[in-house]
């Protein structure tokens, strides 16, 4: 907590939130673009409905505004760690499937994967500033890759990207919520300031 009390910690937190918001925005923008590319390259229908991806917390949540900052950060971190694993699997599957033939999609997937990792880093840093630190990843082992067919993998990839796009929106809202000084919101600063 000592770090959170210092002005530099506050600045650091604000900076992390600010850049996290922008990163989420960029991530969403890129994921939207990637979705178009992915649908096109994988020969999918953009309007195809996809079932919820296993292992990824749903972005939609009830009583969102009642969540505390830490809770928000933890949910976000869990989601992005899951996305990181899923995207890595997708990238690996893409490389296995197409090799270097479709470098554009591969680069876009890698870029989104990096952004997911970067955002997870932001969340971890914010949680460190919360003086509790991020939970270890060993506690939440990545779900094993299911044995799916090719089409199913494509649909699953589509579901991952759609969910990621929704999470990008939610994450931006969560971080904005964290930057608000309102004590009722359960923001980190208010809690940090409490004894």
């Amino acid at each position: 907590m000592a770090a959170a009390d210092s002005p530099s910690a506050a600045l650091r937190r604000r900076d992390l939130c600010s850049r996290g918001i922008r990163l989420a925005g960029k991530m969403r923008s890129d994921v939207v673009d990637l979705l178009d590319t992915y649908v096109e390259r994988q020969g999918l229908d953009a309007s195809a409905s996809v079932a919820a991806v296993e292992g990824v917390p749903a972005a939609a949540v009830e009583r969102w505004d009642e969540q505390t900052g830490t809770q928000r950060l933890l949910e976000n971190l869990a989601a992005y760690r899951a996305f990181r694993v899923l995207l890595s699997q997708m990238l690996e599957e893409h490389r296995e499937q197409l090799g270097e033939a479709d470098a554009t999609l591969g680069r876009a997937l890698a870029s989104v994967l990096l952004q997911v990792s970067a955002f997870a880093y932001h969340l971890e840093e914010l949680l460190r500033l919360e003086s509790r630190g991020p939970p270890s990843e060993e506690g939440a082992p990545p779900p094993p890759a299911p044995h799916l067919g090719l089409f199913e993998r494509k649909l699953r990839g589509l579901g991952v990207l759609r969910e990621l796009a929704q999470w990008a929106v939610r994450s931006a809202r969560d971080l904005r919520q964290l930057t608000k000084p309102s004590p009722g919101s359960g923001s980190v600063p208010s809690r940090a300031e409490s004894p």
Binding site: R22, L23, K26, A118
Partner: protein
């Protein structure tokens, strides 16, 4: 001893053979090796190498460490650096590796003093890498989603070794593969970077001698982005003529960064950009309306962007796009001026109105028409006259007077404000003063002193003065508050411009004040051609023509005349440029001078052609001063001579021109009893037919040989006779006797006869003695004179006595001598003159018969003389032919002299006509 050396050499030979066999057998086994093997050493460090001999070699060839010689290339390392560690190991130490080189060899000096290489190593010397400095990175946006990051650094000093650089970067929780530079050692580009996460970047340099890392650079790549410029820029004209609307597309996502912009613009043809105030475009946008533009003007726009907060880099400028604002009314009336030609008619002016087309920024569109209104101020009753003109000039013929001219330019949108020009009847207002010019910055500045009264504006007229073209007037307006301006036109250097400044008032105009000026002067293109107008003994008047204005190239400041003689120094005289004539003085007479002339402007001079002239030998009046006195002196001498001769005429006549008595007037005729008195002679006409003439022949007889003439003596006569034969027979030959004397004895004056005899004894003359002389009876006596020359004595004497004969005009004594070819010419006038006199003296005519005497018979002379004497008495014409020669008697007219006038002696007389040649 010899056998011992031989044994050593043989042993060494065997050793070498053994070693070579080892090598040739594929097993490389040397007698030793060096530690370390191929070291890489830092420059300047110390280094120790060991050479270790194999035990086998020791036993076989008696080779020990104390025999080792270290060499660098072929240079032996000083033995002070050696150290024998044991019998098989020798070391060498270098305190500074800079003295090392490759290879470093270990050699053995065998007993036979033969040096054998044992082993060698390659030494590499270099430097460890320095810490890379000045690491900086920039993210270039190359595509919409591609952001490579390029980092550059200073690699440091040259290491002389193969040094590898690596750009390392990582997130706190994630490492990325290193960026390895290709072909360079100071930059590397990371293909794609992620934003909003701090990235730690550093450079690692490594070589065989070590490794160094730069200071890490921690940054969010979003802060170092140089975005792509906006694209698809479009320019559209708005509703207002001063507004253009720009629109564009940004190529960087708004989610990535918010942008701010710079917009620049310029008019077509202008190179200077103007910029929209940055604060107006400091927020994200994709369009902007640029205001404050000029109507109907084409603009060029360009735009760039960067991160809104100013962190990062500006993008490049976008492609340029143009747009044109819409038209507006002309903002001002065209400048107008006039040229008045009053020379054609005293009562009317020819007014050339001219105006300048509006500048584009004033016209605000396409000028469709000009409207000119001319209003006579003097007669208010007359309505103004309007003219619609499409050109920029109008010529009107107007009665003298004051006029107000109004001009309006009109385009599609509307009309301009009117321009008004007052044309007064006379330019009676105060003019400007002190008009002056000054070339400055390649332009010609004109200045003037303003009049005291308020001036509405000034008009500056100028034209190029040239011989080859007319003065085409250009002009410009200047506001009334200035006193100088640059001429707005194509002012050429080396050309003369006539500049006139007019002051214009609200109610009149001042007269123009002019000045000539050059933008830039040069030397004249040619020099004056000098000539002489007049050349004297010591001076010469030179004349020349002024250079034409096209030849001057500037203001002629002076002329310089250079003149010199052929071998003399050149003399220069400076002459005022207004002169066209100059007198060179103090010249040397009768000398060739070369003269040339230079015309000078401010920039220098140029010489004209040489001209040569020669001064006169005599000055003006000198010849007169010499000739006139000489002539006067000559005239005086002549006059004196004449006077002298006049005074001494008698003496002269006596000596030069003795009087030859006229035989026809001889008293002998009277004396002869058969001859009637002289007044009984018939007239010439009666005696001789016209055209006949009686020649008189004179017989010269040697006094010493009176009786007989030798043939020699007669030769001259023969010659004369021959000459006579070629003539027409009119003249008598010398030597012939033509006396009218009868054979009777002549009576001579005794006194005269004595005188002649005293003076000469060679020539005898017949002497006619006038008996009437000295109060004697006027009986003509013809006697042969025994006297020889001088005749002058006789003549002088006779002249003395017959002076009255000269004064008697009626009397003509005609003594014809053989004059050669002149005879025919001289005879006739005499003859004619004689004829005129004839009527009054017919009775005095005496005919003479001329006797041509052949030189062959001198004796016939006497006979001839007698015969002739007889025949002479005959009144008729007598023609006698002797030896084929025709002797024609000729008549001589004349008054028979009186007794007193008759000459005493028979001497030649002066005959005014026909000439006389003394014998």
């Amino acid at each position: 001893m010899f056998s011992g050396w031989n044994w050593v050499a043989h042993g060494l030979y065997l050793l070498l053979n053994f070693c070579s066999l080892e090598v040739s057998g594929g097993l490389v086994q040397s007698c030793g090796h060096i530690i370390p093997e191929s070291p890489v050493l830092a420059l300047g460090s110390n280094f120790t190498a060991l050479c270790i001999l194999n035990e086998s070699c020791l036993d076989f060839g008696n080779i020990y460490a104390n025999q080792i010689i270290w060499k660098i290339k072929n240079r032996v390392v000083p033995k002070e650096q050696y150290r024998e560690i044991n019998r098989t190991v020798s070391s060498v130490t270098f305190n500074d590796t800079s003295s090392l080189a490759t290879p470093l060899t270990c050699n053995i000096l065998a007993d036979g003093q033969i040096e054998q290489n044992i082993y060698g190593i390659a030494v590499t010397i270099g430097l460890p890498p320095e810490k890379p400095k000045n690491l900086s990175c920039i993210v270039h946006q190359v595509l919409k989603l591609t952001y490579p990051m390029t980092c550059t650094w200073n690699p440091g000093r040259h290491t002389f070794l193969d040094t590898h650089f690596r750009l390392k970067y990582r997130w706190p929780q994630e490492n990325f593969p290193d960026c390895i530079p290709k072909d360079v050692n100071n930059s590397c580009t990371i293909p794609d970077v992620q934003f909003f996460v701090n990235l730690e970047v550093w450079v690692e340099a490594a070589n065989a001698l070590g490794k160094a890392e730069s200071d890490p650079l921690v940054l969010d790549p979003i802060e170092i982005v140089k975005p792509l410029p906006p694209h698809n820029l479009s320019v559209n004209s708005g509703i207002l003529p001063t507004v253009l609307k720009l629109a564009w597309e940004n190529r960087i996502s708004g989610a990535l960064m918010k942008l701010k912009f710079n917009i620049r613009y310029r008019t077509i043809g202008d190179t200077n950009w103007m910029q929209v105030p940055p604060e107006d475009t400091a927020s994200p946008r994709t369009s902007f309306s640029v205001q404050g533009l000029r109507p109907y003007t084409e603009y060029v726009f360009s735009i760039r962007c960067m991160k809104e907060d100013g962190v990062g880099y500006w993008s490049d400028w976008s492609e340029e796009k143009t747009g044109v604002t819409t038209e507006d009314k002309p903002s001002k009336g065209p400048p107008i001026w006039r040229i008045i030609d009053a020379s054609r008619s005293p009562a009317f002016w020819t007014v050339h109105l001219m105006w300048k087309a509006l500048e584009p920024f004033e016209a605000n569109g396409i000028i469709l028409q000009y409207e000119v209104t001319v209003r006579a101020k003097s007669s208010l009753s007359s309505p103004p006259e309007k003219y619609d003109v499409n050109t920029t000039n109008l010529t009107l013929k107007l009665p003298n007077g004051t006029y107000e001219v109004t001009l309006i330019a009109r385009n599609r949108v509307g009309a301009s404000p009117p321009s008004v020009l007052l044309i007064p009847a006379t330019n009676s207002k105060a003019p400007v003063k002190n008009v002056r010019t000054l070339p400055k910055d390649g332009k010609l500045w004109v200045g003037w002193t303003a009049p005291n009264s308020y001036v509405l504006k000034y008009v500056i007229e100028w034209c190029l003065v040239s011989n080859s073209s007319d003065c085409i007037i250009e002009w410009q307006n200047e506001p009334g508050n200035v006193q100088g301006t640059y001429l707005k036109g194509d002012i050429k250097p080396f050309k003369c411009y006539l500049i006139t400044v007019y002051s214009l008032y609200a109610d009149g105009q001042g007269s123009g004040q002019s000045v000539k000026a050059y933008l830039q002067q040069d030397r004249p293109s040619k020099g004056p051609t000098v000539q002489t107008k007049k050349v004297g003994k010591a001076e010469a008047v030179l004349t020349w023509n002024h250079l034409t204005v096209d030849e001057q190239n500037g203001f002629i400041r002076s002329y310089t005349i250079f003149y010199k003689t052929v071998d003399g120094n050149e003399t220069a005289v400076t002459v005022d440029p207004s002169k066209t004539e100059y007198t060179l003085s103090s010249l040397t007479s009768d000398t060739l001078y070369t003269v040339r002339m230079m015309a000078y402007t401010d920039e220098g001079g140029r010489s004209g052609p040489d001209f040569t002239f020669t001064t006169q030998k005599f000055g003006k009046g000198e010849i007169e001063a010499i000739v006139v006195p000489v002539c006067l002196a000559f005239l005086l001498i002549v006059l004196l001579g004449v006077l002298f001769c006049f005074n001494k005429r008698d003496l002269i006549k006596k000596h030069i021109w003795p009087i030859v008595p006229d035989p026809s007037k001889s008293n002998i005729a009277q004396w002869s009893p058969q001859v009637p008195a002289k007044h009984n002679f018939s007239s010439k006409d009666q005696m001789y037919p016209e055209g006949s003439f009686t020649d008189v022949s004179v017989v010269e007889i040697e006094a010493d040989d009176k009786k007989s003439f030798s043939e020699q003596d007669l030769k001259p006569f023969d010659l004369l006779k021959k000459e006579k034969s070629t003539s027409e027979g009119h003249s008598s030959g010398i030597g012939g006797s033509s006396c009218m004397s009868s054979p009777r004895q002549s009576v001579s004056d005794s006194d005269e006869g004595e005188t002649t005899q005293n003076t000469s004894s060679t020539v005898q003359y017949s002497t006619v003695v006038l008996n009437g002389y000295r109060d004697q009876t006027p009986v003509q006596v013809f006697s042969r004179s025994e006297s020889t020359q001088p005749l002058l004595d006789s003549e002088e004497r006779s002249e003395d006595h017959s002076g009255g004969a000269d004064g008697t005009s009626q009397r003509q004594q005609y003594f014809k001598q053989n004059g050669g070819q002149d005879e025919t010419n001289t005879d006739r006038p005499c003859f004619e003159r004689t004829k005129q006199i004839t009527p009054t003296n017919e009775g005095d005519l005496v005919g003479f018969a001329q006797l041509q005497i052949s030189g062959q018979s001198s004796q016939l002379l006497g006979l001839g003389l007698q015969k002739n004497t007889q025949e002479a008495a005959l009144p008729d014409v007598l023609q006698t032919s002797i030896e084929g020669q025709t002797v024609r008697p000729e008549t001589v007219e004349g008054n028979p002299p009186s007794v007193d006038e008759m000459p005493k002696s028979y001497l030649p007389q002066t005959v005014r006509q026909g000439g006389y040649m003394p014998q």
